[in-house]
Subunit: 458 residues, 2 copies
């Protein structure tokens, strides 16, 4: 029983689809996290669920760690095989298997990305709303319970998935849930797998909910004199239960970065990016209601993006906020991103205290967030060669995480636990973390599925 | 180690709040299910989370089964203590602990009923939408993953709960999740407990999401020449993604029963009960769009309930559909209710085949359902003294359950597994049912928490 034995068996079985090439191993050593990478001993490229099951069965027999990988866009090192073993690259399982237009759902393999699914839906009048910054794979998005700019209206991956197929630690293939919109038939294994980051099973198929494209969409940007006014506007919008589809906050530093990176004709002031979905009348109504709130909070520079290209350019710029920050950091600097999420009534306090931390630090940290969910990110710009800067980023991130917990929130709104948030799990969950460990221990007694993530069991 | 020893210790500790009175034992032997009751050996009335923990610790030491009980409105015998032991009556834990108006959430004890919570919200402009037929307890509703008439727009208890406090099998108190609107911090224990029917822990506190009362509400009933036309209208409404708040189907038999029971001035034809929520303009728009669809499907007798009293009378009648069916059955007859839920595109097929089953049977079976979710109930009217009728009801129910699975649905949309749906779990879940059993075995190794429900582990 050994990793070497597993790799040998897998190479015999999968031949060229079990790679030990240096560049392949390096690529699969890490995602977008600031953490140091760890190379796997081999990378497997399965093409079917049965092949994933075969890989897991061989690894189970040889006691070899297995870490799933897809686009590699995770920012908390979920894909880093910290104990070596095999990285299972899911990107060859990239077919849209079925689109059920009448039921508003689609069946996809895990390597399909969110934009690929939306491209496949182009002529149906339907869309898939969950949109993390990266064009992530749907399997990875489910595994990390991802969300994005539409979550305030359409929910996160927790809400978007109807059922899953997954291979569990003994190589069995399970299917959770059905295609009905709801069910009360036993334990919710679908939701248990969502957010489990590959530690309980590898997702091999997803059935996801779709939504009708709204009849009308209008988007806007809205600048504010200060961060507090922008955040107050978000809080009031949510408290009114106004059904905004998107309400995103960018502080002045993030705006400056985005303006430079995406060539936006906007001011570098604290800004909200908004979108309203509905009928013509309801979109107009929502926009008017929001406009009043914003003006009451001294908004300046309301700008409507009416044409589709303008709107797409706006949201492309928003999704590129990470790259914009990276560019603003200059050569050699990396982004260390935080992920606090708090009850909306505490969002102002959380952001302002965090802002004070950044102002008092030598590091720059543009802020951007899904403010309607109470979720925001600080993109700390760090020279990874500088131990001082890395320590400073860590210190600020820790303060933010603890602040989120103190305010009744969570250390991760959407990026997941990975390696980066492990140290906060006890504080966030208390004894419930032990229950998570018990579940892991029983479903993966050898601890071969992405060991070292979410729970500590040996 | 014995039940008798546990009861003795609990009586010493809880005195009058550990009852063995005959009428109390009888009351806690069953809910609204058609299944035979089984009396507990004692009924406990805890008043705090700590007391629930104490009860569980004593029972764990004495290896004594524990079954939670609240309103007793479950229809699948979830509350029946099939292996004796203690019934834990949660109705003294009935406080609304906090209402966070700004965050749109409330913290409640499990014995608070849905109408009590809404009464507490009366002056806030907020409401709690999940509304099963009975005025159930929120703890029970979470434990059975309940839904109701608003689920098509506002979701089920899966969506309504932000976090839980629960006592698990060793007497530990755990808290799952936080008050933030989303989190990616580890396994979703909140969703694991929701729908677990007291088999993994006893819920002692819930934080639930609230919604703003819509600016405008309009309700209507709409009769159709036949079942198919009514169901087609529902299907088209959902496929258009029209944001109806409620869209309920009652067949002609159920309408006749409701007209008689609730003195409704309507015709005994297949009928939809509808409600639209939104701004004045959007409600008008939704109603118009729906009206066109309905007319295209030959709807007759569109009736608007404009005034609040009319609307309340309408939904009261809908919520009383169970009692109306019971009354229509005549003295001595009981309701045996089914709970299929299928993808919306298969709903017509499922209902029409079921209708043919009922027409071919000697039993009456009014039909009513949350058709917008693909969920419907047949309320089979059965003389419990007649073995022939009971067997016939069972035969029809089995056919409906198998049909739902064949059509890609679930045997229970909202009533849960209890005893009634156990026999279908293997067919519905396949190997995933074994994973559920593993989870149960690890979190409740002695099988003391509501044994005999959801999974079979010994």
């Amino acid at each position: 029983m050994s990793i070497a034995k597993a790799v040998e068996r897998l190479r015999t079985r999968f031949e060229a689809r079990a790679s030990t090439g240096a560049s392949i191993l390096d690529l699969h050593s890490k995602g977008e996290a600031h953490h140091a990478g760890v190379q796997p001993d081999a990378v497997l490229f399965p093409e079917t669920t049965e092949e994933v099951a075969e890989i897991i069965r061989i690894c189970a027999e040889e006691h070899c760690p297995i870490t799933p990988y897809a686009v590699g866009s995770s920012v908390e090192a979920q894909v880093t095989p910290v104990r070596g073993g095999v990285s299972v690259d899911m990107m060859r399982m990239n077919k849209v298997l079925a689109i059920h237009e009448q039921d508003l759902d689609a069946v996809v393999q895990p390597g399909v990305t969110r934009s690929e699914l939306n491209a496949a839906l182009r002529h149906t009048g339907l869309f898939f709303p969950v949109d993390p910054g990266a064009d992530a794979s749907l399997g990875g998005m489910a595994a990390t319970r991802a969300s994005g700019t539409n979550a305030v209206r359409y929910g996160t991956m927790k809400d978007a998935v109807l059922r899953l197929e997954a291979v569990v630690a003994d190589g069995s293939i399970i299917r959770t849930g059905g295609r009905a919109r709801k069910s009360a038939a036993g334990y919710d294994l679908t939701r248990l797998l969502i957010g489990s980051e590959g530690t309980l099973g590898i997702i091999t198929e997803l059935t996801v909910r779709l939504h009708g494209l709204p009849e009308a969409i209008s988007a806007a940007t809205c600048g504010f004199p200060d961060v507090e006014a922008a955040v107050q506007t978000v809080i009031q919008t949510i408290q009114m239960d106004l059904p905004v589809a998107r309400i995103e906050f960018l502080d002045e530093a993030q705006m400056a970065a985005c303006i430079a990176y995406s060539d936006l004709d906007l001011e570098p002031a604290p800004t909200l990016f908004l979108e309203f979905h509905g009928s013509q009348a309801s979109v107009a109504e929502q926009a008017e209601t929001f406009g009043e709130l914003a003006r009451d909070n001294s908004a300046t520079g309301f700008r409507w993006a009416v044409r589709e290209e303008e709107r797409n350019a706006l949201w492309k710029a928003r999704h590129d906020a990470y790259w914009a920050a990276l560019a603003a950091g200059g050569p050699g600097r990396k982004v260390y991103v935080t992920d606090a999420c708090v009850p909306i009534s505490r969002l102002g306090e959380c952001i302002l205290e965090t802002k004070a931390d950044i102002d008092a630090s030598a590091l720059a940290g543009p802020m951007v967030g899904h403010a309607g969910d109470g979720n925001f990110h600080v993109q700390l710009l760090v020279d990874p060669e500088s131990a001082i800067e890395a320590a400073e980023a860590e210190r600020i991130a820790d303060r933010i995480a603890k602040r989120a917990l103190r305010l009744g929130g969570t250390v991760t709104g959407e990026h997941g636990v990975g390696l980066g948030k492990m140290k906060h799990m006890r504080a966030e969950h208390g004894q419930a973390w032990d229950v998570m460990a018990e579940i892991k221990r029983t479903l993966d007694p050898q601890n071969i599925l992405n060991p070292g993530k979410i729970v500590e069991i040996n």
